[in-house]
């Protein structure tokens, strides 16, 4: 089975969030970038496990400029066979989804995986958009994915619970916690990643259905009101009479 895993480059989870240029741009100064954890820990690792069990190939795809290459190489070090970068700074999720869908359809991928959301834009848009463009099913927030021939058994989170379903390839799935365990690349993987193919393809037409105008930080919290450990009842009293939430 030919598997395509979408990876996004995001600021490390400990990054200080700040903005520049009149709050219109994320301040990358001193920020370390990583593969979006949902893409890496769950989507990519599960794709590799499926390949190890059933054969096939795993390609990672990213829509971005050349400064994304070190992040993409990390996915190769974890075990992807090859990588593709669509050479475009995407305007929004729809713009990136169109590029990925075009590549997936031109190259006959049977399963497309991505994380349930990125930790920077928190869109939860990519998987659904790719599926809709390809006229395939989209399985969101999946926590288990098993393949038996061309049929997948998937567990996904739904409103108020979970559901187990069956579906034939091709389809698109977004991965959530539970689908796999994160892998740390070993030295052999890191060495091999240097020579694995990272193909750069030029984008199809790009458009901006949406655009971020400005960012803002939430107002700073006022000071924390401390309550004595000897009298926790005071806390309940404050929650009832001051905060009015009990």
């Amino acid at each position: 089975m030919k598997i395509l895993v979408c990876i996004s480059k995001v600021p490390d989870t400990t990054s200080k969030i700040a903005f520049t240029d009149g709050n219109s741009k994320f301040d990358t100064n001193g920020v370390q970038f990583i593969i979006n954890p949902y893409d890496e820990w769950y989507a990519l690792v599960r794709a590799l496990e499926l390949k190890e069990a059933n054969g096939g190939s795993v390609t990672v795809i990213n829509v971005g400029l050349a400064d994304n290459d070190p992040t993409i190489r990390k996915a190769l070090a974890i075990g992807a066979d090859d990588a593709v970068r669509v050479n475009l700074d995407p305007k929004d999720a729809m713009d990136a989804a169109q590029q990925i869908a075009d590549y997936a359809s031109a190259n006959g991928y049977e399963l497309v995986l991505c994380g349930k959301e990125t930790i920077d834009y928190n869109g939860s848009q990519m998987g659904g958009m790719i599926a809709a463009i390809l006229n395939q099913e989209f399985i969101s927030n999946a926590t288990k994915l098993d393949m038996n021939g061309n049929t997948a058994t998937i567990e996904r989170d739904i409103q108020g619970g979970t559901e187990v379903l069956e579906l034939n390839i091709p389809f698109v799935v977004s991965a959530a916690k539970g689908m796999a365990e994160a892998r740390i690349p070993n030295m052999r993987g890191i060495m091999a990643a240097r020579t694995k193919p990272l193909t750069v393809v030029e984008p199809s037409a790009s458009f901006n259905a949406t655009e971020v105008l400005t960012y803002e930080l939430p107002p700073a919290k006022g000071s924390c009101k401390m309550i004595s450990a000897d009298n926790p009842a005071e806390l309940l009293d404050l929650l009832r009479n001051e905060a009015k939430i009990l």
Partner: protein, 318 residues
């Protein structure tokens, strides 16, 4: 024209989130001069109640193909109703259903999509939606450039405002393709309060020392009418189920009250909870970073403080 609002149902009733999104649509309609059409798909007994929050019209679609959760068919149905109503703005809740469908609807209608909205859009200078980004550590003001627009609204982010209308209710039919997903089994949690919908949450971390000590956390949660949650190490060590893990890589919640017990407040944990309206932190370490993000704090041992809280809650009849 009408703003089309997808009103989610659960257990044959209109879901709480549906009132929030209908009210959101109604507050937006007052700015744009539109009317509000609420779309209910599947069985629900109390759909008329949507008019209490501003629905001018309620469309009910019942189609056997939609009796199981089929996102692509739901999107087809919504797009057909949007077309028939001439709707240019479609509103969802950014819950698990909205996350599954809104991107499909946006592609189908060639509409710009903003997910996770936290405020009514500004419409004076273009159409600009404020959304949460960086896991709640910031907001972005996003302009939608397309003629048609799809918005999904963060649960519990926008107050619902009563706005009684006498809505016209009708049934509509849609023309759907074949279902491709075969649902084998559904497990709907019946007794517990689902964490993502809970208005109050009691959460505990490594400070509890072991899974055997969660009895008091559950008891306090029950007394307060709260759901229980946990930090990542606790879920990684399998002290608590994965679905209770809140934080950057677990689930993000925004309850009215979040009580964190024995959680130091690492930045990744804060990212999942910092949109809570009131945060209470109970920790033995006065230097725990969580106190900086808290509204109320107690420096003390959970094993002493929590039993006292339980006693006090019982005495106060909470």
């Amino acid at each position: 024209m009408s703003i089309l609002v997808f009103a989610n149902t659960a257990k044959n009733e209109v879901h709480k989130s549906a009132y929030e999104v209908v009210s959101y649509g109604s507050q937006l309609a007052q700015k744009t001069g539109d009317t509000v059409t609420a779309l209910v798909i599947g069985d629900a007994t109390n759909i008329s109640s949507l008019s209490d929050y501003g629905a001018d019209k309620i469309i009910h679609v019942k189609d056997a193909k939609l009796s199981s959760f089929q996102p692509s068919l739901l999107a087809q149905a919504i797009n057909q109703i949007a077309e028939a109503e001439g709707s240019k703005i479609i509103v969802f809740s950014h819950d698990l259903t909205g996350k599954a469908i809104a991107p499909l609807v946006a592609v189908g209608l060639k509409a710009g999509l903003v997910t996770g909205a936290v405020a009514i859009p500004e419409t004076e200078n273009g159409f600009i939606v404020k959304k949460a980004v960086f896991s709640g550590k910031a907001y972005a003001h996003v302009k939608i450039n397309t003629d048609k627009k799809v918005i999904s609204v963060n649960p519990n982010a926008v107050e619902k405002v009563e706005n009684k209308k006498s809505a016209n209710e009708s049934e509509a039919t849609v023309n759907l393709g074949e279902a491709r997903i075969k649902v084998i089994e559904q497990k709907i949690e019946s007794t517990d309060i689902p964490l993502t919908e809970a208005e109050k949450v009691v959460s505990a971390g490594r400070g509890l020392k072991g899974p055997e000590n969660w009895g008091m956390i559950e008891e306090l949660a029950k007394l307060l009418g709260a759901a229980t949650a946990c930090s990542r190490p606790v879920s990684d060590m399998d002290w608590r189920p994965h679905h209770e893990h809140v934080g950057q890589t677990g689930i993000a919640i925004r309850p009215n009250l979040y009580i964190a017990i024995g959680i130091s407040g690492a930045i990744q944990h804060l990212a999942g909870v910092n949109q809570s309206k009131v945060i209470v932190v109970i920790n033995t370490d006065p230097e725990a970073p969580f106190f900086k993000s808290a509204d109320y704090g107690i420096v003390g041992d959970a094993f002493e403080v929590v039993p006292k809280l339980i006693e006090a809650a019982k005495a106060m009849n909470i």
